[in-house]
Amino acid sequence: MVRYLVRRGGLLVASLLLASVALFLLLRVLPGDPANALLTVDATPEQIEAAQRQVGSDRSLPEQFVTWFGQLARLDLGRSFVSTLPVGPEIVDRLVVTLPLTLFAFALAIVIAVPVGYLCARWSRTWYGAGLSALSQLGIAVPAFWVGMLLIFVFALRLRVFPSGGFPRAGWADPGAALTSLTLPVLTIALVMSASLIRYVRSATLDVLGSDYLRTARALGASSAEAMWRHGLRNAAGPVVSVLGVELATTFLGAVVVESVFALPGLGSMLVKGITQHDYPVVQGVLFVSTVAVLVIGFLADLAQRLIDPRLRGSSPGGSR
Protein backbone atom coordinates (compact mmCIF):
# COMPACT_ATOMS: atom_id res chain seq x y z
CA MET A 1 0.00 0.00 0.00
CA VAL A 2 2.82 2.44 0.90
CA ARG A 3 4.56 1.71 -2.38
CA TYR A 4 1.33 2.28 -4.23
CA LEU A 5 0.74 5.55 -2.36
CA VAL A 6 4.20 6.79 -3.33
CA ARG A 7 3.78 5.86 -7.00
CA ARG A 8 0.22 7.20 -7.30
CA GLY A 9 1.28 10.34 -5.40
CA GLY A 10 4.18 10.76 -7.82
CA LEU A 11 1.76 10.56 -10.73
CA LEU A 12 -0.40 13.21 -9.05
CA VAL A 13 2.55 15.59 -8.62
CA ALA A 14 3.68 14.98 -12.21
CA SER A 15 0.14 15.70 -13.46
CA LEU A 16 -0.02 18.91 -11.43
CA LEU A 17 3.33 20.10 -12.82
CA LEU A 18 2.32 19.24 -16.37
CA ALA A 19 -1.05 20.95 -15.97
CA SER A 20 0.57 24.14 -14.66
CA VAL A 21 3.03 24.20 -17.57
CA ALA A 22 0.19 23.58 -20.05
CA LEU A 23 -1.94 26.33 -18.51
CA PHE A 24 0.97 28.75 -18.70
CA LEU A 25 1.92 27.88 -22.27
CA LEU A 26 -1.58 27.81 -23.76
CA LEU A 27 -2.28 31.35 -22.63
CA ARG A 28 1.18 32.70 -23.61
CA VAL A 29 2.25 30.97 -26.80
CA LEU A 30 -0.99 31.58 -28.66
CA PRO A 31 -1.12 34.88 -30.54
CA GLY A 32 -2.25 38.05 -28.78
CA ASP A 33 -0.43 39.96 -26.05
CA PRO A 34 -2.10 39.66 -22.62
CA ALA A 35 -1.24 43.34 -22.14
CA ASN A 36 -3.90 44.17 -24.72
CA ALA A 37 -6.51 43.59 -22.01
CA LEU A 38 -5.29 46.77 -20.29
CA LEU A 39 -5.19 48.94 -23.39
CA THR A 40 -7.58 50.86 -25.59
CA VAL A 41 -7.29 50.92 -29.38
CA ASP A 42 -5.55 54.33 -29.44
CA ALA A 43 -2.87 53.50 -26.83
CA THR A 44 0.47 55.29 -27.19
CA PRO A 45 3.72 53.27 -27.43
CA GLU A 46 4.58 54.41 -23.86
CA GLN A 47 1.26 53.09 -22.57
CA ILE A 48 1.79 49.78 -24.37
CA GLU A 49 5.24 49.47 -22.82
CA ALA A 50 3.90 50.26 -19.35
CA ALA A 51 1.12 47.73 -19.74
CA GLN A 52 3.56 45.08 -20.92
CA ARG A 53 5.77 45.76 -17.93
CA GLN A 54 2.80 45.50 -15.58
CA VAL A 55 1.65 42.22 -17.11
CA GLY A 56 5.18 40.90 -17.51
CA SER A 57 4.89 40.17 -21.22
CA ASP A 58 8.02 42.28 -21.97
CA ARG A 59 10.22 39.53 -20.53
CA SER A 60 11.21 36.21 -22.07
CA LEU A 61 8.97 33.15 -21.72
CA PRO A 62 11.26 31.24 -19.33
CA GLU A 63 11.53 34.32 -17.09
CA GLN A 64 7.75 34.70 -17.06
CA PHE A 65 7.34 31.04 -16.25
CA VAL A 66 9.74 31.16 -13.32
CA THR A 67 7.90 34.19 -11.91
CA TRP A 68 4.50 32.53 -12.34
CA PHE A 69 5.65 29.24 -10.89
CA GLY A 70 7.30 30.97 -7.94
CA GLN A 71 4.04 32.76 -7.18
CA LEU A 72 2.10 29.50 -7.48
CA ALA A 73 4.43 27.81 -5.00
CA ARG A 74 3.59 30.59 -2.54
CA LEU A 75 -0.13 30.11 -3.32
CA ASP A 76 -0.20 33.57 -4.86
CA LEU A 77 -2.40 33.59 -7.96
CA GLY A 78 -1.66 37.18 -8.94
CA ARG A 79 -4.02 40.12 -9.29
CA SER A 80 -6.93 40.63 -11.65
CA PHE A 81 -6.14 42.98 -14.58
CA VAL A 82 -9.62 44.45 -14.40
CA SER A 83 -10.39 44.88 -10.69
CA THR A 84 -6.70 44.78 -9.53
CA LEU A 85 -7.85 42.68 -6.55
CA PRO A 86 -5.87 39.52 -5.69
CA VAL A 87 -7.30 36.45 -7.43
CA GLY A 88 -6.74 33.91 -4.62
CA PRO A 89 -9.06 35.41 -1.98
CA GLU A 90 -11.79 35.94 -4.58
CA ILE A 91 -11.62 32.26 -5.56
CA VAL A 92 -12.00 31.31 -1.89
CA ASP A 93 -15.04 33.63 -1.65
CA ARG A 94 -16.63 31.95 -4.61
CA LEU A 95 -15.85 28.40 -3.52
CA VAL A 96 -18.26 29.07 -0.66
CA VAL A 97 -21.00 28.81 -3.31
CA THR A 98 -19.49 26.29 -5.72
CA LEU A 99 -18.35 23.67 -3.19
CA PRO A 100 -21.70 23.20 -1.42
CA LEU A 101 -23.45 23.23 -4.81
CA THR A 102 -21.16 20.47 -6.10
CA LEU A 103 -21.29 18.32 -2.96
CA PHE A 104 -25.07 18.55 -2.43
CA ALA A 105 -25.70 17.81 -6.12
CA PHE A 106 -23.29 14.87 -6.06
CA ALA A 107 -24.89 13.40 -2.92
CA LEU A 108 -28.39 13.81 -4.36
CA ALA A 109 -27.30 12.24 -7.66
CA ILE A 110 -26.09 9.14 -5.79
CA VAL A 111 -29.29 9.01 -3.72
CA ILE A 112 -31.32 9.06 -6.95
CA ALA A 113 -29.08 6.81 -9.04
CA VAL A 114 -28.51 3.86 -6.68
CA PRO A 115 -32.17 2.81 -6.16
CA VAL A 116 -33.22 3.71 -9.72
CA GLY A 117 -30.24 1.87 -11.26
CA TYR A 118 -30.94 -1.13 -9.03
CA LEU A 119 -34.59 -1.21 -10.08
CA CYS A 120 -33.63 -0.85 -13.76
CA ALA A 121 -31.56 -4.04 -13.39
CA ARG A 122 -34.12 -5.90 -11.28
CA TRP A 123 -36.92 -5.09 -13.73
CA SER A 124 -34.76 -5.41 -16.85
CA ARG A 125 -37.09 -7.98 -18.43
CA THR A 126 -40.27 -5.96 -17.96
CA TRP A 127 -41.60 -3.11 -20.05
CA TYR A 128 -41.50 -0.63 -17.14
CA GLY A 129 -37.89 -1.55 -16.41
CA ALA A 130 -37.00 -0.98 -20.03
CA GLY A 131 -38.92 2.32 -19.92
CA LEU A 132 -36.99 3.45 -16.86
CA SER A 133 -33.68 2.58 -18.57
CA ALA A 134 -34.73 4.41 -21.73
CA LEU A 135 -35.64 7.48 -19.65
CA SER A 136 -32.20 7.51 -18.00
CA GLN A 137 -30.61 7.07 -21.46
CA LEU A 138 -32.51 10.19 -22.54
CA GLY A 139 -31.04 11.99 -19.53
CA ILE A 140 -27.50 11.80 -20.91
CA ALA A 141 -28.62 13.57 -24.11
CA VAL A 142 -30.06 16.59 -22.31
CA PRO A 143 -27.86 19.66 -21.74
CA ALA A 144 -27.70 20.57 -18.03
CA PHE A 145 -28.31 24.28 -18.59
CA TRP A 146 -31.56 23.49 -20.42
CA VAL A 147 -32.81 21.37 -17.50
CA GLY A 148 -32.01 24.36 -15.29
CA MET A 149 -34.00 26.70 -17.52
CA LEU A 150 -36.98 24.34 -17.54
CA LEU A 151 -36.89 24.04 -13.73
CA ILE A 152 -36.75 27.84 -13.42
CA PHE A 153 -39.73 28.12 -15.76
CA VAL A 154 -41.84 25.63 -13.79
CA PHE A 155 -40.78 26.14 -10.17
CA ALA A 156 -39.70 29.79 -10.11
CA LEU A 157 -41.81 31.55 -12.72
CA ARG A 158 -45.02 29.48 -12.73
CA LEU A 159 -45.28 27.95 -9.25
CA ARG A 160 -43.12 30.62 -7.56
CA VAL A 161 -41.84 28.22 -4.88
CA PHE A 162 -38.12 28.87 -5.42
CA PRO A 163 -36.16 31.95 -6.50
CA SER A 164 -35.15 31.99 -10.18
CA GLY A 165 -31.55 32.77 -9.36
CA GLY A 166 -29.05 34.73 -7.30
CA PHE A 167 -27.53 34.09 -3.89
CA PRO A 168 -28.29 36.00 -0.66
CA ARG A 169 -25.90 38.86 -0.06
CA ALA A 170 -25.46 37.67 3.52
CA GLY A 171 -24.24 34.29 2.18
CA TRP A 172 -24.29 31.40 4.64
CA ALA A 173 -25.03 33.78 7.55
CA ASP A 174 -28.62 33.26 6.38
CA PRO A 175 -28.65 29.46 5.92
CA GLY A 176 -32.35 29.24 5.03
CA ALA A 177 -32.13 31.71 2.17
CA ALA A 178 -28.84 30.23 0.98
CA LEU A 179 -30.28 26.72 0.86
CA THR A 180 -33.44 27.88 -0.91
CA SER A 181 -31.43 29.61 -3.60
CA LEU A 182 -29.31 26.49 -4.07
CA THR A 183 -32.27 24.09 -4.32
CA LEU A 184 -33.00 24.38 -8.04
CA PRO A 185 -29.32 24.45 -9.11
CA VAL A 186 -28.61 21.36 -6.98
CA LEU A 187 -31.64 19.59 -8.45
CA THR A 188 -30.54 20.50 -12.00
CA ILE A 189 -27.04 19.08 -11.63
CA ALA A 190 -28.24 16.03 -9.67
CA LEU A 191 -30.82 15.07 -12.31
CA VAL A 192 -28.29 15.27 -15.14
CA MET A 193 -25.52 13.52 -13.19
CA SER A 194 -27.79 10.72 -12.00
CA ALA A 195 -28.65 9.84 -15.61
CA SER A 196 -25.11 8.66 -16.32
CA LEU A 197 -24.65 7.15 -12.84
CA ILE A 198 -27.82 5.07 -13.26
CA ARG A 199 -26.27 3.28 -16.22
CA TYR A 200 -23.22 2.26 -14.17
CA VAL A 201 -25.33 1.10 -11.22
CA ARG A 202 -27.61 -0.82 -13.58
CA SER A 203 -24.83 -2.70 -15.35
CA ALA A 204 -22.97 -3.40 -12.07
CA THR A 205 -26.20 -4.80 -10.57
CA LEU A 206 -26.91 -6.88 -13.68
CA ASP A 207 -23.42 -8.42 -13.41
CA VAL A 208 -24.01 -9.30 -9.76
CA LEU A 209 -27.53 -10.66 -10.38
CA GLY A 210 -26.16 -13.00 -13.05
CA SER A 211 -23.25 -14.21 -10.89
CA ASP A 212 -22.71 -17.76 -9.67
CA TYR A 213 -22.04 -16.75 -6.06
CA LEU A 214 -25.43 -15.08 -5.79
CA ARG A 215 -27.14 -18.15 -7.21
CA THR A 216 -25.24 -20.32 -4.74
CA ALA A 217 -26.24 -18.09 -1.84
CA ARG A 218 -29.88 -18.36 -2.92
CA ALA A 219 -29.56 -22.14 -3.28
CA LEU A 220 -28.22 -22.31 0.28
CA GLY A 221 -31.41 -20.69 1.48
CA ALA A 222 -30.63 -16.97 1.69
CA SER A 223 -33.51 -14.72 0.72
CA SER A 224 -33.08 -12.54 -2.34
CA ALA A 225 -32.60 -9.41 -0.24
CA GLU A 226 -30.19 -11.14 2.15
CA ALA A 227 -28.05 -12.52 -0.68
CA MET A 228 -27.92 -9.11 -2.32
CA TRP A 229 -27.05 -7.37 0.95
CA ARG A 230 -24.33 -9.79 2.09
CA HIS A 231 -22.74 -10.73 -1.23
CA GLY A 232 -24.01 -8.45 -3.95
CA LEU A 233 -23.47 -5.01 -2.50
CA ARG A 234 -19.69 -5.09 -2.08
CA ASN A 235 -19.20 -6.62 -5.52
CA ALA A 236 -21.50 -4.14 -7.23
CA ALA A 237 -19.93 -1.19 -5.37
CA GLY A 238 -16.47 -1.68 -6.91
CA PRO A 239 -17.16 -0.62 -10.51
CA VAL A 240 -19.52 2.15 -9.35
CA VAL A 241 -16.97 3.67 -6.94
CA SER A 242 -14.36 3.59 -9.70
CA VAL A 243 -16.44 6.00 -11.80
CA LEU A 244 -17.52 8.18 -8.86
CA GLY A 245 -14.26 10.13 -8.98
CA VAL A 246 -14.74 11.06 -12.61
CA GLU A 247 -18.40 11.81 -11.92
CA LEU A 248 -17.55 14.12 -9.02
CA ALA A 249 -15.16 16.01 -11.27
CA THR A 250 -17.89 16.24 -13.91
CA THR A 251 -20.34 17.50 -11.28
CA PHE A 252 -17.90 20.23 -10.30
CA LEU A 253 -17.71 21.21 -13.94
CA GLY A 254 -21.47 20.98 -14.45
CA ALA A 255 -21.65 23.56 -11.69
CA VAL A 256 -19.63 25.97 -13.84
CA VAL A 257 -22.38 26.17 -16.48
CA VAL A 258 -25.38 25.80 -14.17
CA GLU A 259 -24.11 28.70 -12.02
CA SER A 260 -24.54 30.94 -15.03
CA VAL A 261 -28.14 29.79 -15.53
CA PHE A 262 -29.00 30.67 -11.93
CA ALA A 263 -26.78 33.77 -11.72
CA LEU A 264 -24.89 32.29 -8.74
CA PRO A 265 -21.68 34.10 -7.73
CA GLY A 266 -19.53 30.97 -7.95
CA LEU A 267 -16.32 29.89 -9.61
CA GLY A 268 -18.07 29.29 -12.95
CA SER A 269 -19.35 32.81 -13.40
CA MET A 270 -15.93 34.14 -12.34
CA LEU A 271 -14.29 32.05 -15.08
CA VAL A 272 -16.76 33.11 -17.77
CA LYS A 273 -16.37 36.78 -16.83
CA GLY A 274 -12.59 36.39 -16.84
CA ILE A 275 -12.64 34.90 -20.34
CA THR A 276 -14.91 37.54 -21.82
CA GLN A 277 -12.83 40.35 -20.26
CA HIS A 278 -9.50 38.73 -21.28
CA ASP A 279 -8.54 38.84 -17.61
CA TYR A 280 -5.73 36.25 -17.78
CA PRO A 281 -4.79 36.04 -14.09
CA VAL A 282 -8.44 35.28 -13.24
CA VAL A 283 -8.76 32.65 -16.01
CA GLN A 284 -5.45 31.07 -15.04
CA GLY A 285 -6.26 31.07 -11.35
CA VAL A 286 -9.72 29.53 -11.70
CA LEU A 287 -8.53 26.92 -14.21
CA PHE A 288 -5.58 26.06 -11.97
CA VAL A 289 -7.76 25.59 -8.89
CA SER A 290 -10.28 23.52 -10.91
CA THR A 291 -7.51 21.33 -12.31
CA VAL A 292 -6.04 20.75 -8.87
CA ALA A 293 -9.50 19.80 -7.61
CA VAL A 294 -10.08 17.37 -10.48
CA LEU A 295 -6.67 15.71 -10.13
CA VAL A 296 -6.91 15.40 -6.34
CA ILE A 297 -10.41 13.90 -6.65
CA GLY A 298 -9.03 11.33 -9.11
CA PHE A 299 -6.24 10.51 -6.66
CA LEU A 300 -8.65 10.03 -3.75
CA ALA A 301 -11.04 7.95 -5.89
CA ASP A 302 -8.22 5.56 -6.84
CA LEU A 303 -7.28 5.16 -3.18
CA ALA A 304 -10.91 4.55 -2.18
CA GLN A 305 -11.26 1.90 -4.85
CA ARG A 306 -8.26 -0.01 -3.54
CA LEU A 307 -9.64 0.05 -0.02
CA ILE A 308 -12.91 -1.48 -1.26
CA ASP A 309 -11.43 -4.06 -3.60
CA PRO A 310 -8.52 -6.00 -2.06
CA ARG A 311 -7.86 -7.70 -5.42
CA LEU A 312 -6.40 -4.45 -6.76
CA ARG A 313 -3.84 -4.07 -3.97
CA GLY A 314 -1.12 -5.97 -5.78
CA SER A 315 -1.28 -3.95 -8.98
CA SER A 316 0.55 -0.80 -9.96
CA PRO A 317 -1.03 2.59 -10.68
CA GLY A 318 -2.59 2.88 -14.09
CA GLY A 319 -2.17 -0.83 -14.74
CA SER A 320 -5.50 -1.72 -13.19
CA ARG A 321 -7.58 0.40 -15.55
Binding site: L18, L26, L30, Q137, F145, W146, L150, L253, V272, V283
Partner: protein
Amino acid sequence: MSRHRRSLVAGGILVGLTCAAALISLLWTPYPVSDTSGGRLAPVTAAHLLGTDRLGRDLATQLMVGARIALETGLGAVVVGGTLGVLVGIAAGFAQRWLDDGLAALLDIVIAFPTLLLAMLVVAARGASLGSAILALGLAMSAVVARLTRILVKRVLAQDFVTASLVSGTSWPRVVAEHVLPNIWPTLAVNLALQFGLAVLAEASLSYLGLGAPPPNQSWGRMLQEAQSTVLVAPAGLVAPGLALVVLVVGANLVADGLREVADPLARRSS
Protein backbone atom coordinates in the same frame (compact mmCIF):
# COMPACT_ATOMS: atom_id res chain seq x y z
CA MET B 1 -35.56 -6.55 -36.85
CA SER B 2 -32.92 -6.81 -34.13
CA ARG B 3 -32.70 -4.18 -31.43
CA HIS B 4 -29.47 -2.82 -32.91
CA ARG B 5 -30.97 -2.54 -36.38
CA ARG B 6 -33.95 -0.66 -34.92
CA SER B 7 -31.59 1.71 -33.07
CA LEU B 8 -29.66 2.39 -36.27
CA VAL B 9 -32.83 3.20 -38.23
CA ALA B 10 -34.36 5.36 -35.48
CA GLY B 11 -31.06 7.18 -34.91
CA GLY B 12 -30.62 7.65 -38.65
CA ILE B 13 -34.04 9.27 -38.89
CA LEU B 14 -33.38 11.66 -35.97
CA VAL B 15 -29.95 12.72 -37.25
CA GLY B 16 -31.39 12.86 -40.79
CA LEU B 17 -34.05 15.33 -39.62
CA THR B 18 -31.35 17.71 -38.38
CA CYS B 19 -29.29 17.26 -41.56
CA ALA B 20 -32.38 17.93 -43.69
CA ALA B 21 -33.15 21.13 -41.75
CA ALA B 22 -29.53 22.27 -42.15
CA LEU B 23 -29.43 21.50 -45.89
CA ILE B 24 -32.79 23.14 -46.61
CA SER B 25 -31.70 26.25 -44.67
CA LEU B 26 -28.89 26.71 -47.20
CA LEU B 27 -31.46 27.16 -49.98
CA TRP B 28 -34.59 28.32 -48.23
CA THR B 29 -35.73 29.56 -44.84
CA PRO B 30 -39.22 30.83 -43.91
CA TYR B 31 -37.75 34.36 -43.48
CA PRO B 32 -34.35 35.92 -44.11
CA VAL B 33 -32.17 35.28 -41.03
CA SER B 34 -32.07 38.89 -39.78
CA ASP B 35 -35.59 39.79 -40.93
CA THR B 36 -37.49 41.48 -38.08
CA SER B 37 -40.76 42.21 -39.92
CA GLY B 38 -42.75 39.88 -37.65
CA GLY B 39 -42.50 42.27 -34.70
CA ARG B 40 -41.05 41.49 -31.28
CA LEU B 41 -42.07 38.31 -29.44
CA ALA B 42 -44.86 37.41 -31.89
CA PRO B 43 -46.92 34.45 -30.66
CA VAL B 44 -46.95 31.04 -32.35
CA THR B 45 -49.03 31.43 -35.53
CA ALA B 46 -49.16 29.93 -39.04
CA ALA B 47 -46.92 32.80 -40.22
CA HIS B 48 -44.37 32.19 -37.43
CA LEU B 49 -44.51 28.51 -36.51
CA LEU B 50 -42.46 29.06 -33.34
CA GLY B 51 -43.12 32.80 -32.90
CA THR B 52 -40.37 35.42 -32.97
CA ASP B 53 -37.63 36.42 -30.51
CA ARG B 54 -37.21 39.71 -28.64
CA LEU B 55 -35.68 41.32 -31.74
CA GLY B 56 -38.50 40.11 -33.98
CA ARG B 57 -36.55 37.38 -35.76
CA ASP B 58 -38.43 34.22 -36.79
CA LEU B 59 -37.53 31.39 -34.40
CA ALA B 60 -38.21 28.57 -36.90
CA THR B 61 -35.70 30.18 -39.27
CA GLN B 62 -33.10 30.47 -36.51
CA LEU B 63 -33.70 26.87 -35.49
CA MET B 64 -32.97 25.68 -39.06
CA VAL B 65 -29.82 27.80 -39.31
CA GLY B 66 -28.75 26.61 -35.85
CA ALA B 67 -28.79 23.03 -37.13
CA ARG B 68 -25.88 24.00 -39.40
CA ILE B 69 -23.73 25.20 -36.49
CA ALA B 70 -24.54 22.11 -34.43
CA LEU B 71 -23.61 19.75 -37.28
CA GLU B 72 -20.54 21.76 -38.31
CA THR B 73 -19.17 21.76 -34.76
CA GLY B 74 -19.99 18.10 -34.15
CA LEU B 75 -18.52 16.90 -37.44
CA GLY B 76 -15.55 19.27 -37.26
CA ALA B 77 -14.69 18.10 -33.75
CA VAL B 78 -15.02 14.45 -34.81
CA VAL B 79 -12.72 15.03 -37.82
CA VAL B 80 -10.09 16.87 -35.73
CA GLY B 81 -10.38 14.59 -32.70
CA GLY B 82 -10.68 11.39 -34.75
CA THR B 83 -7.68 12.08 -37.00
CA LEU B 84 -5.40 13.23 -34.20
CA GLY B 85 -6.60 10.56 -31.81
CA VAL B 86 -6.18 7.67 -34.24
CA LEU B 87 -2.70 8.85 -35.27
CA VAL B 88 -1.48 9.21 -31.68
CA GLY B 89 -3.18 5.97 -30.68
CA ILE B 90 -1.53 3.98 -33.48
CA ALA B 91 1.83 5.58 -32.73
CA ALA B 92 1.51 4.61 -29.04
CA GLY B 93 0.32 1.12 -29.97
CA PHE B 94 3.40 0.50 -32.09
CA ALA B 95 5.87 2.44 -29.95
CA GLN B 96 8.64 1.13 -27.72
CA ARG B 97 7.70 0.55 -24.13
CA TRP B 98 8.95 3.84 -22.62
CA LEU B 99 7.37 6.01 -25.32
CA ASP B 100 4.14 4.07 -25.04
CA ASP B 101 4.09 4.43 -21.24
CA GLY B 102 4.77 8.15 -21.53
CA LEU B 103 2.01 8.67 -24.07
CA ALA B 104 -0.44 6.61 -22.01
CA ALA B 105 0.27 8.66 -18.88
CA LEU B 106 -0.05 11.90 -20.86
CA LEU B 107 -3.42 10.81 -22.29
CA ASP B 108 -4.69 9.95 -18.80
CA ILE B 109 -3.79 13.44 -17.65
CA VAL B 110 -5.50 15.13 -20.61
CA ILE B 111 -8.60 12.99 -20.11
CA ALA B 112 -8.70 13.91 -16.43
CA PHE B 113 -8.96 17.52 -17.60
CA PRO B 114 -12.68 18.01 -18.29
CA THR B 115 -13.67 18.80 -21.89
CA LEU B 116 -15.43 22.03 -21.10
CA LEU B 117 -12.51 23.45 -19.07
CA LEU B 118 -10.15 22.60 -21.92
CA ALA B 119 -12.54 24.24 -24.37
CA MET B 120 -12.73 27.37 -22.20
CA LEU B 121 -8.94 27.53 -22.05
CA VAL B 122 -8.70 27.45 -25.85
CA VAL B 123 -11.45 30.05 -26.15
CA ALA B 124 -9.67 32.23 -23.58
CA ALA B 125 -6.47 32.04 -25.61
CA ARG B 126 -7.90 32.30 -29.13
CA GLY B 127 -11.09 34.28 -28.65
CA ALA B 128 -14.62 32.98 -29.18
CA SER B 129 -15.22 31.67 -32.68
CA LEU B 130 -16.57 28.61 -34.44
CA GLY B 131 -12.98 27.54 -35.19
CA SER B 132 -11.99 27.81 -31.51
CA ALA B 133 -14.96 25.69 -30.48
CA ILE B 134 -14.18 22.99 -33.06
CA LEU B 135 -10.47 22.99 -32.24
CA ALA B 136 -11.10 22.88 -28.48
CA LEU B 137 -13.67 20.09 -28.60
CA GLY B 138 -11.60 18.16 -31.14
CA LEU B 139 -8.49 18.36 -28.96
CA ALA B 140 -10.36 17.17 -25.89
CA MET B 141 -11.91 14.34 -27.91
CA SER B 142 -8.59 13.27 -29.43
CA ALA B 143 -7.25 12.11 -26.05
CA VAL B 144 -10.24 9.82 -25.51
CA VAL B 145 -10.02 8.46 -29.06
CA ALA B 146 -6.24 7.98 -28.76
CA ARG B 147 -6.58 5.99 -25.55
CA LEU B 148 -9.20 3.72 -27.12
CA THR B 149 -7.20 3.33 -30.36
CA ARG B 150 -4.07 2.42 -28.41
CA ILE B 151 -5.87 -0.38 -26.58
CA LEU B 152 -7.50 -1.67 -29.78
CA VAL B 153 -4.20 -1.58 -31.68
CA LYS B 154 -2.44 -3.53 -28.92
CA ARG B 155 -5.16 -6.14 -29.07
CA VAL B 156 -4.81 -6.54 -32.85
CA LEU B 157 -1.00 -6.58 -32.70
CA ALA B 158 -1.12 -9.48 -30.25
CA GLN B 159 -2.90 -11.66 -32.86
CA ASP B 160 -0.93 -14.40 -34.61
CA PHE B 161 -1.80 -13.30 -38.14
CA VAL B 162 -0.26 -9.87 -37.48
CA THR B 163 2.89 -11.41 -36.05
CA ALA B 164 3.05 -13.66 -39.12
CA SER B 165 2.67 -10.64 -41.37
CA LEU B 166 5.40 -8.67 -39.55
CA VAL B 167 7.76 -11.65 -39.49
CA SER B 168 7.31 -12.17 -43.21
CA GLY B 169 8.65 -8.66 -43.76
CA THR B 170 5.58 -6.48 -44.26
CA SER B 171 6.37 -2.83 -43.47
CA TRP B 172 4.46 -1.42 -40.52
CA PRO B 173 2.50 1.20 -42.50
CA ARG B 174 1.16 -1.70 -44.57
CA VAL B 175 0.30 -3.68 -41.46
CA VAL B 176 -1.63 -0.64 -40.23
CA ALA B 177 -3.53 -0.31 -43.50
CA GLU B 178 -4.21 -4.01 -44.08
CA HIS B 179 -4.71 -5.45 -40.61
CA VAL B 180 -4.99 -2.79 -37.92
CA LEU B 181 -7.40 -0.23 -39.38
CA PRO B 182 -9.93 -2.75 -40.78
CA ASN B 183 -10.07 -4.46 -37.40
CA ILE B 184 -10.40 -1.38 -35.21
CA TRP B 185 -12.64 0.95 -37.21
CA PRO B 186 -16.02 -0.57 -36.23
CA THR B 187 -15.35 -0.01 -32.51
CA LEU B 188 -13.92 3.43 -33.28
CA ALA B 189 -17.05 4.33 -35.26
CA VAL B 190 -19.26 3.55 -32.24
CA ASN B 191 -17.10 5.76 -30.06
CA LEU B 192 -16.96 8.61 -32.59
CA ALA B 193 -20.77 8.62 -32.86
CA LEU B 194 -21.01 9.01 -29.08
CA GLN B 195 -18.31 11.70 -29.12
CA PHE B 196 -20.24 13.57 -31.80
CA GLY B 197 -23.23 13.83 -29.44
CA LEU B 198 -21.01 15.01 -26.58
CA ALA B 199 -19.39 17.64 -28.81
CA VAL B 200 -22.81 18.97 -29.86
CA LEU B 201 -23.81 19.30 -26.18
CA ALA B 202 -20.51 20.95 -25.26
CA GLU B 203 -20.86 23.46 -28.11
CA ALA B 204 -24.36 24.33 -26.90
CA SER B 205 -22.98 24.95 -23.40
CA LEU B 206 -20.18 27.15 -24.76
CA SER B 207 -22.63 29.17 -26.87
CA TYR B 208 -25.00 29.47 -23.93
CA LEU B 209 -22.16 31.00 -21.90
CA GLY B 210 -21.41 33.37 -24.78
CA LEU B 211 -18.11 31.62 -25.56
CA GLY B 212 -19.20 29.89 -28.78
CA ALA B 213 -19.48 31.10 -32.35
CA PRO B 214 -20.30 34.83 -32.24
CA PRO B 215 -23.27 36.35 -34.18
CA PRO B 216 -24.38 36.18 -36.99
CA ASN B 217 -23.87 32.40 -36.53
CA GLN B 218 -27.06 31.36 -34.79
CA SER B 219 -26.41 28.45 -32.44
CA TRP B 220 -29.07 26.62 -30.43
CA GLY B 221 -27.14 27.30 -27.24
CA ARG B 222 -27.25 31.05 -27.80
CA MET B 223 -30.91 30.91 -28.82
CA LEU B 224 -31.61 29.38 -25.40
CA GLN B 225 -29.55 32.04 -23.67
CA GLU B 226 -31.43 34.80 -25.52
CA ALA B 227 -34.80 33.18 -24.77
CA GLN B 228 -34.12 32.99 -21.03
CA SER B 229 -35.27 36.52 -20.24
CA THR B 230 -38.50 36.18 -22.21
CA VAL B 231 -39.71 32.68 -21.32
CA LEU B 232 -42.95 33.85 -19.73
CA VAL B 233 -44.10 35.58 -22.95
CA ALA B 234 -42.49 33.24 -25.47
CA PRO B 235 -42.03 29.74 -24.02
CA ALA B 236 -41.50 28.29 -27.53
CA GLY B 237 -38.05 29.90 -27.55
CA LEU B 238 -37.18 27.86 -24.45
CA VAL B 239 -38.60 24.55 -25.64
CA ALA B 240 -37.73 24.35 -29.34
CA PRO B 241 -33.90 24.72 -29.35
CA GLY B 242 -33.60 22.38 -26.36
CA LEU B 243 -35.71 19.71 -28.07
CA ALA B 244 -33.68 20.14 -31.27
CA LEU B 245 -30.51 19.45 -29.27
CA VAL B 246 -32.02 16.39 -27.60
CA VAL B 247 -33.23 15.01 -30.99
CA LEU B 248 -29.77 15.31 -32.53
CA VAL B 249 -27.89 13.89 -29.53
CA VAL B 250 -30.34 11.03 -28.93
CA GLY B 251 -30.09 10.30 -32.67
CA ALA B 252 -26.28 10.14 -32.49
CA ASN B 253 -26.42 7.89 -29.41
CA LEU B 254 -28.89 5.55 -31.14
CA VAL B 255 -26.66 5.38 -34.22
CA ALA B 256 -23.76 4.48 -31.90
CA ASP B 257 -25.87 1.73 -30.34
CA GLY B 258 -26.81 0.44 -33.79
CA LEU B 259 -23.17 0.41 -34.93
CA ARG B 260 -22.26 -1.79 -31.96
CA GLU B 261 -23.70 -4.74 -33.89
CA VAL B 262 -21.21 -4.16 -36.69
CA ALA B 263 -18.40 -3.65 -34.18
CA ASP B 264 -19.14 -6.71 -32.10
CA PRO B 265 -21.17 -9.48 -33.76
CA LEU B 266 -21.48 -11.16 -30.35
CA ALA B 267 -23.69 -8.29 -29.21
CA ARG B 268 -26.33 -9.60 -31.61
CA ARG B 269 -26.96 -12.62 -29.44
CA SER B 270 -27.23 -10.76 -26.17
CA SER B 271 -30.40 -8.89 -27.00
